[in-house]
Amino acid sequence: MAQTFTKTMARNIFYGGSVFFFLLFLALTFDTSMALPDRDRRELLDPTTERGQQIAHGKALWEENNCIGCHSLLGEGAYFAPELGNVYVRFGNNTEAIKAFIQSRPAEGIPGRRSMPQFNFAPEELEAIAQFLKYASEINTAGWPPNKQG
């Protein structure tokens, strides 16, 4: 680099650029926070309603069984098992089908094939998970995934 470009100039670009773009990022974050209520279906999460409690319970079960360790949710997670952000749609907009699938997994797996573990969920737990996945499918994700196969 030419001598006209000094270390002090480089340092100032670093500090100035980082601070400027971090502030811009915070401004965009603020704007996003304002826009989210129309997109993220937060009205479903009201903890005073039964459905809100079910979704919260469902998310806790999702996390405490590490579902993300095999599946993706809105495209994030592991790629070993199908995307679940739209599983409610894929299963014909039917929470019963989701519950039946989770319940039917064989405890010892399927010879030679990938298989979801049997988690032995209680009926209210199954309902909570299904409600959580239904909620996930209703978030406005800008048209993603491209089709129902996820």
């Binding site: 997109r39 806790a60 405490e64 360790g69 070993f80």
Partner: protein
């Protein structure tokens, strides 16, 4: 080694390599589960193997960064660590916490681990890369604070160099952004939005500052190029990193419920994220070409150059491949992401940690550089691991392209599991290449044992050999 307290780095480096080995073993288990679905099922289900694989990586890289800091900060600051005992104590706390967490993953069902550790009091578990029990996360914060106190105190009371200050900014950022791991609302969009403040702002933000400063340190030491030149480059590189990388977070905000304008912000800024990596490549080769000395540690130089090239390929090129939102619409959450993840982590972070280990371990053992035989072994391990990582990435990319086509792009999209069967050949090839990587890792570890049995190389021997006198180091001239 100029200051005795630098020696604490040794503990961190040894543990890092041990966890590296664990990471690779579990990677091979997962790779096999991709094609033999019931392998080790239900004893070690895929999600457990994956947690060990990714968490071991994160912890060993953190151990590597900490070791690097404990080694280079005193040398740059020209004083001993303010509290070497604290560095040792924190090492054992960190190691025991990591070991207990891995034992928990392997021997307790995950939901049982959540109950045992009281996850319902402050739920943070069960999110990708942040699977650790909340108590482990609190432990990480405590270790990080003690580490920052030690490193920060040493830097601020000693000679303040750009390398040290940039490293400190990176490490403070690492600690600060980790705090978002404790924010876990029921609202999935907010959860994901701030989850990226840990993950993206780490690996495409502050970790690059750590990478840059370690690379600058190794290059100053091995090439003897004037510090002023190196520091100017370092500032420009990290400036570009944060200018592109902070708003570049937007490439994760396309499809998670956030507004559509992120497709513009994310695409434009993340498309520029390869620039700092490219500059890093130019920087490293420039410094080596302009070297004023011939350091006897050729292996360390190879890792330093290797990290500059492979970070550009893995993070820069493979990141760019799927970062534009119209492309990402099809590739999001496929094997393309996995391909990028593997080469980016290997190129940027694994290799820089191996570079500083390669440079510092011989010195901490009282040698300027390891023996010729040990270095040759280490360089073999470099090529085996690096070339196999290139092929792992290529095979996963091929799998990803087919997956995108069959599952998302064609007029008759197929189900996920049917597609997985169709692309199994690439998973087999990836697994075989993974075995080659393992051979490279075994050679790497072996090179340390060879090094300990033989006298090391010295600058004097290298200079003598370069003058044409047949010295013991003649072969490397």
């Amino acid at each position: 080694m100029k200051y005795p307290s630098q020696g604490v780095a040794r503990l961190y480096f040894i543990a890092a390599i041990g966890l590296f080995a664990a990471q690779i073993l579990f990677g091979l288990i997962m790779g096999l589960q991709y094609v033999i679905g019931d392998f080790l099922f239900p004893a070690i289900p895929f999600n457990v193997a994956r947690m060990v694989h990714t968490n071991a990586l994160i912890v060993w890289l953190l151990m590597g960064f900490m070791g690097a800091a404990y080694y280079l900060v005193p040398e740059e600051a020209e004083r001993d660590l303010i509290a070497p005992w604290l560095a040792k104590l924190m090492f054992w706390i960190f190691l025991v916490a990591a070991a207990l967490t891995v034992i928990g993953y392997l021997f307790v069902p995950y939901s049982g681990l959540a109950k045992m550790t009281g996850n319902e009091l402050l739920p943070t578990m069960g999110r990708e890369f942040l699977e650790q029990p909340t108590i482990t996360k609190i432990g990480i914060v405590i270790v990080a604070l003690a580490f920052l106190f030690n490193i920060g105190g040493t830097i601020l009371t000693g000679r303040k160099t750009v390398v040290n200050l940039v490293l400190l900014i990176g490490l403070v950022g690492l600690a600060v952004f980790f705090l978002f791991a404790f924010y876990n609302p029921t609202n999935l969009v907010l959860d994901k939005y701030y989850w990226w403040w840990v993950v993206h702002l780490w690996v495409e933000g502050v970790w690059e500052l750590i990478l840059g400063s370690i690379l600058a340190f190794v290059l100053i030491k091995t090439t003897g190029v004037d510090r002023e030149v190196v520091e100017k480059w370092l500032y420009v590189i990290i400036a570009m990193t944060l200018i592109t990388g902070i708003i570049g977070t937007g490439h994760h905000y396309y499809w998670i419920g956030t507004p559509e304008y992120w497709q513009w912000w994310g695409s434009i800024f993340s498309a520029m994220e390869p620039i700092p990596f490219f500059m890093m490549t130019v920087f490293a080769f420039n410094m080596v070409n302009r070297r004023r000395r011939n350091h006897p540690n050729k292996a360390a130089m190879l890792w330093a150059l290797g990290t500059a090239v492979m970070a550009f390929l893995g993070a820069g090129v493979w990141g760019f491949l799927h970062t534009l939102s119209p492309v990402n619409f099809y590739t999001h959450g496929t094997q393309i992401t996995a391909a990028h993840g593997h080469m980016a982590f290997y190129g940027a972070y694994v290799m820089i940690v191996l570079a500083i280990i390669s440079y510092a371990m011989p010195i901490m053992s009282g040698r300027e550089a390891n023996s010729q035989r040990s270095q040759v072994l280490e360089m073999w391990s470099f090529w085996l691991m690096t070339v196999s990582m290139v092929f792992i990435t290529l095979f996963l990319t091929a799998a990803g392209i087919l997956q995108v086509y069959l599952q998302r792009f064609s007029d008759t999209p197929m189900q996920f599991m049917l597609v997985q069967d169709k692309i199994a050949i690439f998973y087999w090839l990836r697994e075989l290449t993974g075995l080659v990587f393992l051979i490279g890792l075994v050679l790497y570890i072996w090179s340390f044992f060879v090094a300990n049995k033989e006298p090391g190389l010295t600058s004097a021997a290298v200079d003598q050999a370069l003058k044409g006198n047949a010295g013991p180091a003649g072969a490397i001239a």
